[in-house]
């Protein structure tokens, strides 16, 4: 069966159990992500239903499923990448009151957290919505613990959560339909949302993808916005609001496409809402590479959606690791395929995610300012650049963990701290985590850098140094990095600063930056490199035209 035919089955309004089981897709190969499953009801039936989704996305999972355990004792713990607590809460609610449930669960989460720094997903349900809300609040309070609310999922999908008839045989109260929907959510949203790198942009074909028909043949008024295409476009606009870039890659005449988006006021997506448009007759692989460059992201964080199987194959063949989806004739399937694409769905949408699109838009204006400025200093002055440093900001930990794990270009050591490790670091007196917020008169870029350091005698060891791509190309690297170091209380008295360098596939910008400060003309090899603290003090005198603020924590 062809990939696009499989897509129609997996992302049908409601997938059929027999069709899912008959797909028989090849098992994904490569290094498997390990998942510990701690459960008190049947997980195996859901696990079987997850297989076709995981095979479709080529994501190999290796499960270590515990025996049935109402006490969540986590015995026989082995290291894994993700912890999944698959829990029938009714077994607990029959025995103790809800306040005791909350207290007990917090204790169990902490117990599991003491064994792992990885993400923990608590998949369960509570019939009373106030109980669900309290569990949600509890998990939000704890780093990298997420509540997968099965009741909410079933309500959203309009399927019954419980089937009392079968619980005696199946080892679970979950209905057949709830199991199918849960398998899809686990495979496509919940597990990848906690572990896989994010998809940052959509590269969308136009004809028979965003509408029905061919613009060049049917004309502006002839192409059809079906109800399903309307819903698809609305969903794409929703993604844009969460910080996913929309780009258009179409073989058409540019003026025709501009006219289409101008004249067709019924289209929810407007021309200006595409961050990049590549309308031409050139190879789509080349067009997508241009889109990646303009968005300053790598091609492996782009999802390309097209109704032409040949185009999808050609782009996949030319761009390694790009994500692709077939735009089905039924746009509701396309919408659900995108909704369920791993890496697009996120546990938390942060304010900084939504700022990304506006910030990129402002880059064109920054370029104009750059052209009229006679020096970099004047450029900073004209833009009104402000950097705000904050040390050990617990309320930003989630964003900082995102930066550690998503930044590929300006990431010197690729240490990739997660939320739990960052919280632990922030509590150590000889360590410091600094976040850097960037704004200018054109836009608020949000938190764009994180630096994690530890002091050893008179030396500051830089363990993690990440600057978001949205801050690159703005001549701000020195101010961000040296400014961060200089304001740290533990920088005082230091004589040396050690930088740890790892070689990644795309972190050349960070390595080049350090290399220039070391006065090295050779490419740096992985290892440790040192700058004198005095050099950093002296360099920091050059930032007169950048407003540098310190957002004090009470404990500083």
């Amino acid at each position: 069966m062809k990939r696009f035919e499989v897509q129609d089955i997996l992302f049908a309004g409601f997938p059929s159990r027999t069709e899912l089981l008959s797909l028989n897709l090849p098992s994904p190969s490569g290094s498997a992500t390990k998942v510990n499953v701690w459960r008190n009801h049947n997980f195996e039936s859901v696990q079987a239903l997850m297989s076709p989704f995981l095979s479709f996305y080529s994501w190999p999972l290796e499960y270590n499923v515990s025996s049935y355990d109402d006490t969540l004792s986590f015995v026989d713990f082995n290291d894994a990448d993700i912890e999944l607590i698959w829990f029938d809460s009714s077994r607990l609610m029959n025995k103790i009151t809800f306040p005791n449930v909350i207290e007990w669960l917090e204790d169990r989460f902490n117990q599991l957290r003491s064994k792992t720094k990885g993400p923990i997903i608590f998949a369960s349900w509570f019939h009373d919505i106030t109980h669900s809300n309290q569990i949600e609040a509890l998990t939000k309070r704890l780093p990298a613990i997420y509540f997968a609310n099965l009741k909410q999922l079933c309500e959203d999908e309009k399927v019954p959560l419980i089937d009392e008839r079968t619980s005696g045989f199946s080892g679970t109260l979950l209905s057949s339909k709830a199991q199918i929907i849960a398998a899809r959510a686990l495979s496509c949203n919940w597990l990848p949302g906690s572990f896989l790198p994010p998809v940052k942009a959509l590269a969308l074909d136009l004809d028979n993808t965003l509408h029905e028909g061919i613009l060049g043949e049917d004309g502006v008024e002839g192409v059809r916005l079906t109800d399903h295409h309307l819903e698809l476009q609305k969903y794409l606009m929703h993604l844009r609001k969460t910080g996913i870039f929309l780009s258009l890659v179409s073989r058409n005449e540019k003026e025709d496409v501009e006219k289409l988006f101008h004249d067709r006021t019924d289209y929810p997506i407007k021309w200006d809402e595409f961050s990049v448009t590549e309308i031409s007759w050139k190879d789509k692989a080349i067009a997508i590479q241009t889109i990646a460059e303009e968005l300053r992201i790598s091609t492996d964080s782009i999802l390309f959606v097209d109704d032409n199987i040949g185009e999808l194959a050609s782009v996949s063949g030319q761009i390694k690791n790009i994500h692709t989806l077939y735009a089905s004739k039924d746009a509701s399937v396309t919408k659900r395929s995108i909704m369920n694409y791993p890496g697009l769905w996120r546990w938390k949408i942060q304010d900084d995610d939504a700022k990304r699109i506006q910030d990129l838009k402002a880059n064109a204006d920054r370029l104009s300012v750059s052209k009229i400025s006679e020096s970099v200093d004047e450029y900073f002055l004209n833009l009104g650049v402000t950097l705000t440093f904050k040390n050990n900001p617990l309320q930003q930990i989630s964003r900082l963990a995102d930066l550690c794990n998503k930044t590929n270009q300006f990431n010197l050591s690729l240490r990739r701290f997660n939320e739990v490790e960052l919280v632990e670091k922030s509590k150590l007196s000889q360590s410091c985590i600094t976040s850097v917020h960037l704004a200018d008169r054109l836009s608020d870029s949000g938190v764009i850098a994180v630096i994690v350091v530890e002091k050893l005698d008179d030396t500051l060891e830089i363990q993690e140094l990440c600057v978001s791509c949205r801050a690159l190309g703005r001549h701000l690297e020195n101010a961000i990095i040296f400014g961060s170091l200089q304001q740290m209380p533990i920088f005082r008295g230091c004589k040396k600063v050690n930088f740890s360098v790892a070689q990644g596939p795309r972190n050349q910008p960070a390595i080049r930056w350090l290399s220039e400060h070391l006065g090295s003309i050779e490419a740096l090899l992985p290892g440790h490199y040192q700058l004198e603290a005095e050099q950093i003090y002296n360099y920091s005198k050059n930032f007169d035209n950048i407003k540098m603020l310190k957002d004090l924590n009470l404990n500083e």
Binding site: T18, F169, S170
Partner: protein
Amino acid sequence: MNEKEIENKILKVLTLVLKIEADGKTSRQSHFEWDSLKHIEIIFAIEDELQIQFPEDQLSGLDSVQKLVQGVIALHAP
């Protein structure tokens, strides 16, 4: 749908879930793969395939192809 068509649908489900070549004589007694977890998967898959729902008191007794076929026919009886 006649009896033969129902049986064919049920055999298809059994083959899928148990990963065996099922025939009209297949039963829980003859196939160790047909354990309690697989039993409920079979029930769910048949319900899904035929758009039916077996009553709770019949679920444990539907332990062979023949009983499943008769169970479905009984649901369709006027």
